[in-house]
């Protein structure tokens, strides 16, 4: 093929949070880093995000949340992916998330959690790693 992207990633915002500047910023940064980014917008339910992730055959899901509901919604997306037969798709979360909540989220299966101030390259590296791992398992 003429130009292979690094992989496919879905970026979405679950719940009622409408602040999408961060999500759009990450979506553009991922695009500039060579990923195909399916942007699913704001106010999505966990089930909608999981259904889209399956249909688009993505290698990773990025969730952005600034409303504080991450402890409910990030695991909800993990559950929904599991229900859709896609628990192999890694989930990376970012947003306004207190550091003390991060270990529990990781224990529930979130691959990485990024809080405000994280250098962009760290976020991109995490996506690269998650995507590469996912792609190597399915070949």
């Amino acid at each position: 093929m003429s130009q292979q992207p690094h992989g496919r990633v879905l970026i979405g915002k679950p719940g009622l949070d409408g602040h999408d500047r961060g999500a759009k910023f990450i979506a553009r940064a991922l695009r500039d880093a060579g990923f195909e980014v399916i942007y699913t917008g704001i106010r999505r339910t966990a089930e909608e995000i999981a259904a889209a992730a399956v249909q688009e055959d993505v290698d990773a899901v990025g969730l952005s949340l600034l409303s504080g509901a991450h402890n409910e919604l990030f695991p909800a997306v993990l559950d929904a992916l599991g229900q859709a037969g896609a628990k192999d798709i890694p989930v990376i979360g970012g947003g306004v998330i207190p550091e003390e909540d991060v270990p529990a989220l990781k224990e529930k299966g979130v691959r990485a959690v990024f809080t405000p101030g994280t250098p962009l390259q760290d976020i991109l590296d995490a996506f690269h790693r998650a995507v590469d791992e996912h792609r190597s398992h399915r070949s």
Binding site: M1, S2, E36, V37, A52
Partner: protein, 313 residues
């Protein structure tokens, strides 16, 4: 998730979303399992599936209109497939695929299959991948399958050729009606759609396009995708236009599409070999077309020599 073509085909026919999605990825990535998969699907192609192309300048409301059409077909209990194509960045190879965001209304409907696809800088192969995606969706029972592209480049125009009939969506205030005519999109379209008809200047655009449509014996529809006005009429026009063409005409068109797809695959399959061989040839000196002919001969396409244009002395 399995890569066994037989299991995937079984999954496709059972309408398993993951199997459908994996199969499309295999084709997009040129995975070796793609060929047996597509060959097996071709053994028993579904009949009577209509492919609708939706093209037009950015901002005309194509995705919103597609969402409305999906809603309409769903109200008729039809299973719908959508391939939404967006351009890849020629710099990074990545892409922002933002059509789906306007169709999320149908995200949980298992009878709606949406796949976002990037052009990936393919000169021809876009047709090949999109055509295969359409066939995979059709094999899962989708009818119609909608292919949505931004109609600005040759690749996107080629994709419109994949469709049984094509809608050109225009909207007032974009200044793109002239651009569309320049790009040859009007020739390509079977139905002209003036969207955003709630706007005051929409009627002026419609009046401008009406003689253009009449000249080419095309229908013109007015829609307001934002609130759904004009969509049932558009769906009816699609049906009537599709049925009005002589059966022979549709078959001829499909044969031409098939040929275009075959050519696209041939170019895409040849490309890596050409690239490899070119690298072993070292620094290519001289006229590029002369070098290209040499390259083809080296790769083993001697029998092509006669049909290539002769270089001027």
């Amino acid at each position: 998730m399995t890569l066994d073509p037989t299991k995937l085909i079984d999954g496709i026919r059972r309408r398993d979303p993951r199997a459908i999605a994996r199969a499309i990825s295999l084709v997009e990535d040129c995975h070796p399992a793609a060929e047996p998969l597509l060959a097996a699907l071709d053994d028993a192609p579904p009949q009577g599936v209509i492919t609708v192309g939706i093209t037009g300048p950015g901002g005309a409301g194509k995705s919103t209109l597609t969402q409305r059409l999906i809603g309409h077909y769903r109200s008729e209990e039809r299973r719908v497939g959508v391939v939404a194509i967006d351009p890849s960045s020629p710099i990074s190879g990545g892409a922002l695929l933002g059509d789906r965001v306007r169709m999320m209304h149908h995200a949980l409907d298992p009878q709606v299959v949406i796949r976002s696809m990037a052009t990936r800088g393919r000169i021809g192969g876009l047709c090949a991948a999109a055509g295969a995606a359409v066939r995979i969706m059709a094999a899962s029972g989708c009818n119609p399958v909608i292919v949505e592209t931004v109609g600005v480049g040759q690749a996107e125009i080629d994709v419109a050729r994949l469709a049984d009939l094509t809608l050109l969506v225009l909207a007032p205030g974009l200044g793109d009606d002239i651009q569309a005519m320049k790009a040859g999109l009007v020739e390509l379209a079977d139905i002209l759609v003036v969207n955003k008809s709630d706007r005051a200047d929409a009627e002026a655009l419609a009046m401008e396009m009406e003689p253009v449509a009449r000249e080419r014996e095309r229908r013109l529809c007015r829609t307001c995708a934002a609130d759904g006005r004009g969509v049932p009429e558009l769906a009816r026009t699609i049906e009537e236009t599709h049925c009005a063409g002589p059966e022979g005409g549709l078959q001829a068109r499909r044969d031409r599409c098939r040929q275009a797809e075959v050519l696209d695959w041939a170019v895409e399959l040849l490309r890596p070999r050409l690239r490899e061989t070119l690298q072993t040839m070292g620094a290519a000196k001289g006229d590029p077309r002369v070098v290209a002919r040499l390259l083809l001969e080296t790769v083993g396409c001697q029998n092509l020599k006669a049909s290539l244009p002769k270089e001027t002395q």
